[in-house]
């Protein structure tokens, strides 16, 4: 088992390295930090532009391979992900923002799993009846709604709700800093958005898997021996059908950083996703590559955990 995990980990690390390198070259060829300075009125002298760009190691007069070498050396030896064109350290900016995103997404994921799995189980037991059809129609709506449309609709609804009752229950910007209740009122709408986006997958997959196992031979055997239907489903069918869901939950780690890009931008939450958008807008090569690498780390962590969960939960799979 340990050597299996070790081999997978090594493979993922090599992939992560290759993908980050790709992202660095992509960002270096498509982002143009020099344009930030050229647009200034009055434009600063060429020498001072070059000096600032050299300081951030993003000067397009230097060959990109040489820049990559310097960047890689700093990252590998000093864990220094560079500075933005304005001279702020990427390390300091990303660390606490990543934590903000993780908190936001974790809460939403827990809610999404609870909601999705319960709806999925209820729908599978009532296959093709009213509850199944209605919940399916609602889920298809959330499945096709882009995150940003859903978030903006909730902002609109939240503000209308505030106006209707004449008090500010929901806040639509920032995270608030006046205690737990205030935090909850700020985080409510972003969390609802991410939950609605996330629960759909759990609903649909849990329904499918439970339907598969409900018709399995061992469940029929249990029923034939006189086990009541609900007990048979709970003890025999539900347990097996939770394995793919558990893998799905671990898999959702892969989208921790991406999932929050739109929500953080719309609700003005200063997390990793918003930092990525800001970094791109400011032509910040080092900043955007750091977030892309962070997203890659999340993917690899999710894949590795999924490998482990599969091996632990599913007795049919032999690790070799």
């Amino acid at each position: 088992m340990l050597s299996f995990i070790g081999r997978r980990l090594l493979n993922y690390l090599v992939m992560l390295f290759a993908a980050t390198t790709l992202a660095y070259f992509l960002a270096s060829s498509f982002l143009n930090p020099r344009s930030n300075y050229v647009q200034m009125r009055p434009p600063p002298p060429e020498a001072s532009i070059d000096a600032s760009l050299d300081f951030a190691n993003v000067n397009d007069k230097m060959p990109v391979v040489a820049r990559y070498g310097r960047w890689l050396e700093q990252v590998a030896l000093h864990w220094n992900w560079g500075v933005s064109p304005q001279g702020e350290s990427v390390n300091g900016a990303v660390a606490h923002r990543a934590l903000v995103s993780v908190k936001l997404v974790t809460l939403a994921t827990v809610l999404a799993v609870l909601l999705g799995v319960s709806i999925g189980v209820a729908a599978a037991i009532r296959q093709y009846r009213l509850f199944d059809r209605v919940s399916n129609a609602i889920s298809v709506f959330f499945l096709v709604s882009p995150t940003f449309v859903l978030a903006l609709l909730l902002v609109l609804g939240g503000i209308r709700f505030n106006e209707a009752i004449g008090a500010r229950w929901f806040f639509v910007t920032g995270l608030g800093d006046a205690g737990f209740l205030d935090y909850l009122r700020h985080i409510a709408l972003p969390t609802v958005t991410l939950t609605l986006v996330g629960y759909v997958g759990y609903h649909l997959t849990q329904r499918t898997y439970l339907l598969d196992t409900m018709n399995a031979d061992y469940v029929r055997t249990a029923r034939a021996k006189g086990v009541p239907k609900n007990v048979a489903i709970r003890r025999h069918a539900l347990r097996t059908s939770l394995i793919p869901t558990a893998i799905g939950v671990v898999w959702s780690l892969t989208s921790v950083i991406t999932g929050s890009v739109f929500v953080e931008t719309i609700f003005a939450i200063d997390g990793a996703g918003k930092y990525f958008v800001d970094a791109l807008t400011k032509n910040d090569i080092n900043g955007s590559v750091a977030i892309a690498a962070l997203g890659g780390c999340a993917t690899c962590a999710g894949l590795l955990l999924a490998d482990i969960v599969v091996a632990l939960l599913d007795p049919r799979i032999r690790v070799s």
Binding site: Y12, M15, L16, A18, A19, T20, L22, A23, L26, A27, F30, L31, N32, V140, F141, L143, V144, S145, P146, T147, F148, V149, L152, L153, V155, L156, I159, T254, S255, I257, T258, V261, F262, T265, I266, F276, V277, L280, T281, N283, S288, I291, A292, A293, G295, G296, T299, C300
Partner: protein, 306 residues
């Protein structure tokens, strides 16, 4: 009269057996037509496509005409869907944005399907080290969320030809996930006898892929192209919403939603109209895709018999 024909033709054989022959296309169309949500989706999509095509000719205003006498007006007789903050007609903008998003979505989805079909089947067909290398590269491209790579690549796109660049970028990065799925489906195809027969007859690999592997994925490819439009439209609108991708003066549904999001309280129609179009487009294409899946899948019971 005694028939001298020892081998009766197909129609005669069918008549004798009392079986009515139905061409495959008719069969699929019938199964599709029985699926009410799918037909509703097709109708909505047809209406939206019609709106995008005919809209510019029936609109009273061009999308770049500014009516300075009517800034941020509610929908009225003069401006059917109201105006935005600089006085441009929302109907004209929505029609233009819808056309743009649809064009990008359809072209990118077709490109994605073609690339994904070739790469996916090629990885499955060439076994051994080539398969391992191919899968490693595909997995590697999926490590960093595609959305980030897309955003980095299209950030610099600007001006009215920016949409071509965006379409190309969506195609370049969009095929990876689909190729992975197609490869796993094609794995069972490569074991078939007719593939082996073609191989032993000395048919070139590329011809085997083109003539024998890809046509046998036909129905899957059709479904993926339809659902791929939803993916491409959502990626385009998402990027444009964040300020990358399509940028003013050109417009798309994403650009319009971005503009509407800043006047959410004072002029909600600026957000609600393009958002409704985007939702209608995504929902209708998804319903059509699901309906096609059921109609094309011979083992699916959900579309009734025959």
């Amino acid at each position: 009269m005694v028939s001298t024909n020892l081998l009766p033709d197909a129609a005669e054989r069918a008549r004798r057996a009392g079986v009515q022959r139905v061409p495959k296309g008719t069969l699929v169309a019938r199964r599709f037509a029985r699926n009410k949500p799918a037909v509703a989706g097709l109708v909505i999509f047809a209406l939206l496509a019609l709106l995008a095509l005919v809209g510019p000719f029936v609109a009273r205003w061009g999308y770049d005409d500014l009516d300075f006498g009517a800034l941020k007006q509610r929908p009225s007789a003069a401006h059917w869907l109201g105006t935005d903050i600089v006085g441009a007609d929302m109907f004209a903008l929505c029609v233009r944005g819808l056309g743009r998003s649809l064009l990008i979505g359809v072209i990118a989805s077709l490109g994605i399907t073609v690339i994904a079909a070739f790469v996916g089947t090629a990885i499955a067909y060439f076994e051994g080290w080539r398969e391992r290398v191919g899968m490693w590269i595909v997995d590697m491209l999926l490590v960093i969320p595609t959305f980030f790579l897309l955003a980095i690549m299209v950030k610099g796109a600007a001006g009215t030809s920016g949409w071509l660049w965006l379409t190309a970028a969506l195609t370049i990065f969009g095929w990876v996930g689909y190729a992975r799925i197609l490869r796993s489906i094609a794995l069972s195809l490569r074991e078939r006898e007719y593939i082996a027969a073609a191989r032993f007859m000395g048919v070139p690999s590329l011809t085997i892929l083109r003539r024998h592997m890809i046509p046998n994925l036909g129905s899957i490819l059709i479904i993926q192209t339809v659902l791929g439009v939803v993916y491409a439209v959502q990626a385009e609108t998402g990027l444009s919403f964040l300020g990358f991708g399509i940028t003013p003066p050109d417009t798309s549904l994403g650009v319009l939603i971005r503009a509407g999001s800043s006047t959410l309280l004072t002029a909600p129609w600026m957000f609600l109209e393009p958002a409704a179009l985007l939702l209608g487009l995504s929902l209708s294409m998804t319903m059509v895709g699901d309906g096609l899946r059921d109609a094309l899948d011979p083992s699916s019971a959900s579309a009734g018999r025959a």
